[in-house]
């Protein structure tokens, strides 16, 4: 079940966005056609062993004019559907209303309230009102400290799922976006633990996005997170993303790494295996000079890769990465 990128357009312009190498102005604006979408659904479901699950994402997927048609198409195939969205687009409330009774999970990325215009804020809140517990919030920890209580307020006010996915802002391969530096991790880890303490009293759990090096947390902090029911786990074993024009990428931070067209693979598992084999030689390198001798990374090897692979590959940039159009 890859993440299908319906469009690379977005209604926000987050400085930390790790998808920016795949989005305007870095590349032209592009929407997935219905035809490509149907081919991709067929391709995704070709190997039955993965279950029937489809993820829709962007950019901002609700900017796609055919968003509802695509969501319904997925549901008609008796698939489970998950949508990654900010729900702050103009059309989002209408779409949410249309899909409110459908078995759809919404993973909603939110930034602090001051980052939203009045209209965006109104759209988001309307959607949350409509979708309630079908929504899981996700937000990104940036280098600068910022308040997080508003997340708890949103969950309580709109009765959202009591689970927040925490991302540590990741670099793109080019490292042009705002992202955490090594020195930021301990400070951000402390903020996460503080936030987990506050969440616990509201019976809210934290879970974690990919790419966080495990050494960001001390043993005491990891123990406390477990104690708070917000057990830390982060890995780099991405669900593949597929761009609007049908190119498969490992994940958004690695959008410029390799991007063969999906038709070069028989099915999703074959694509996933191919990417893993291509990345395998780089895995043990880790992202810092400390990683390769880190006992901890060796033991948890398949979990901790020393953080995001975009950091690892950036560190290893002198190694030839081959050509994006190279024959698969």
């Amino acid at each position: 079940m890859p993440n299908l990128m319906l469009t690379n357009r977005c209604n926000f312009n987050c400085s930390y966005c790790f998808g920016q190498d795949q989005m305007p102005p870095a590349v032209s604006a592009l929407d997935m056609t219905r035809e490509t979408f149907m081919q991709l659904i067929d391709w995704t479901l070709r190997d039955g062993s993965l279950g029937k699950m489809v993820h829709l994402m962007g950019g901002e997927p609700t900017l796609h004019k055919d968003f509802v048609w695509m969501a319904k198409y997925v549901l008609e195939q008796k698939c489970e559907l998950k949508v990654f969205s900010n729900l702050a687009s103009k059309n989002a409330p209408d779409y949410a209303a249309e899909l409110k009774d459908a078995p759809v999970r919404w993973v909603v990325n939110v930034n602090p309230p001051e980052s939203r215009t009045r209209e965006q804020d109104a759209s988001l809140k309307k959607c949350l009102q409509i979708l309630g517990p079908k929504v899981t919030l996700t937000f990104n920890m940036v280098p600068e400290p910022c308040a997080q209580e508003w997340l708890i307020d949103l969950i309580c006010e709109y009765n959202l799922a009591r689970d927040i996915k925490v991302g540590f802002v990741l670099p793109t391969l080019s490292h042009k976006n705002e992202h955490l530096q090594d020195k930021d991790y301990p400070r951000v880890a402390r903020r996460v633990v503080d936030f987990a303490r506050r969440c616990e009293s509201f019976d809210i759990q934290l879970s974690y996005e990919c790419g966080v090096p495990w050494c960001a947390f001390t043993a005491e902090q990891m123990g406390e997170l477990w104690h708070l029911n917000s057990t830390f786990f982060s890995s780099c074993n991405s669900v593949l993303d597929i761009t609007p024009d049908g190119r498969v990428i490992y994940c958004l931070p690695l959008a410029t790494f390799r991007s063969p067209h999906f038709t070069k693979f028989k099915n999703y598992p074959e694509a996933k295996n191919w990417f893993e084999s291509v990345l395998m030689p780089y895995r043990p390198l880790g992202s810092t000079s400390q990683c390769y001798k880190c006992t901890f990374m060796k033991i948890t090897e398949s979990a901790c890769r020393g953080g995001c692979m975009a950091r690892v590959l950036h560190g290893a940039q002198n190694i030839s990465m081959g050509d994006a159009d190279e024959k698969v």
Partner: protein, 392 residues
């Protein structure tokens, strides 16, 4: 350090893998961690390494471990002792839900003493089933099994003890077994005496280049019986400390440890739990059906609850439904006689949140209660997979 120097060091370290145990590490780490899956976008992936069930091939074993909870449970009273027939094994493998690449445990007794083991291996190979054999490694020479190393996904879990505890003949068998299968075998050990130094387990891994993972269990009682040795609940903290000591030494050698069912959260301090995570341990203190399948395709929850009513796989024709039926009976027992092995379990936040089940029901359920429960599929919460915590 410049980028190039770092890169050179990293590559040197990577290339030095086999010498430093990296190759074995990859296997063990995959085993230990793939069960966690990627939670970055999908929190609950099915666990590809967790046995969906265990085939109880035979109850025959002449090892005679005092802590053994497997040999007397399922075969008492109305269930006569007998091995599975080949037809029964075939029938198990024909259950619809069983698809290639899924993991099946092979247990006993001593499965290597099963007279039709090679026929079973052929069947598993044909179905591309990932096979995990639980053995003592010392009872019987494992002649002829070598060929399957390359032919199918196969590994072993050897329940082991220190070399000086074996008779010369058993010792010879074990050494031979480990020399042949060490790189696809992980150490299993049942903790009976919290005073005992366990460093010898690391020696095995080093000497025989075994998988760098230890599967650790606590000795558990069989509900309603008192025949076997097990750890009393008042010694659980001591057992936790012993476990920590081993985990610390193991981490220094890039070996991770997983705990089998029966462990409880309060065996450890919170900071110890954090440390265990950093040492690569998957933190789970949950109890769920191991789902062992015996003659007539009767299944039981686990060995400590083997005297609980059985559920027929033949009747349900679905591992998932059988699992739910077994879980429902354990739930009834826990509700009535639990929730946990300590009085404090009732108010425990970890239990309420599902982070800890409260320990093994074998410690708290009286014999006469075992027959009072019955399977109720609708009331059980489907986990979609075994909730037995061990994934190795």
């Amino acid at each position: 350090m410049s980028g190039w120097m770092w890169l050179a060091g990293a590559i040197t370290s990577f290339l030095a893998g086999p010498r430093s145990g990296r190759t074995e590490l990859n296997r063990s780490a995959l085993t230990a961690f793939s069960s966690i899956g990627c939670r970055c976008r999908e929190r609950k992936l099915p666990d590809p390494n967790r046995p969906m069930a265990n085939i109880f091939l035979t109850d025959q074993c002449d090892r005679g471990c005092k802590f053994c909870f497997a040999k007397i449970g399922p075969w008492s009273k109305s269930y006569p002792s007998r091995a599975l027939t080949l037809a029964e094994v075939r029938e198990i493998l024909e259950v619809k839900a069983f698809s290639p690449q899924q993991v099946l445990g092979v247990v006993g007794g001593e499965p290597l003493s099963y007279p039709h083991l090679f026929e079973v291996m052929e069947m598993m190979k044909q179905k591309r089933i990932v096979t995990k054999i639980f053995t003592s490694g010392s009872c019987t020479p494992a002649d002829g099994l070598e060929r399957y190393k390359e032919q199918m996904p196969l590994n072993f879990i050897v329940n082991i003890d220190s070399m000086d505890s074996y008779t010369p003949e058993r010792r010879k068998n074990l050494e031979r077994f480990l020399k042949t299968f060490g790189p696809i075998t992980c150490v299993g050990f049942t903790l009976v005496d919290p005073e005992r130094d366990l460093s010898f387990l690391l020696d095995y891994i080093r000497d025989y280049r075994m998988l760098r993972y230890i599967r650790m269990g606590v000795a558990l009682p069989i509900a309603g019986l008192t025949e076997n040795e097990y750890i009393r609940r008042e010694r659980y903290r001591d057992a936790g400390l012993r476990f920590m000591e081993l985990a610390r030494k193991a981490a220094a050698e890039n070996i991770s440890i997983g705990c089998d069912c029966g462990f409880v959260a309060c065996m450890f301090e919170i900071s110890e739990i954090g440390q265990l995570q950093r040492w690569g341990m998957k933190i789970q203190f949950v109890c769920g059906p191991a789902m062992d399948i015996g003659p007539e395709l009767e299944t039981w929850h686990c060995f400590p609850l083997s005297r609980m009513p059985r559920v027929s796989l033949r009747k349900y024709q679905s591992f998932e439904r059988v699992r739910m039926a077994l879980q429902s009976m354990a739930d009834q027992l826990r509700e009535k006689h639990g929730p946990g092995i300590f009085t404090r379990c009732r108010e425990c936040r970890y239990r309420k949140r599902g982070q800890c089940s409260g320990g093994c029901l074998g410690l708290i359920v009286p014999e006469n209660a075992l027959s009072e429960v019955e399977p109720k599929i609708d009331s059980a919460v489907s986990t979609g997979e075994s909730s037995c915590p061990i994934s190795c």
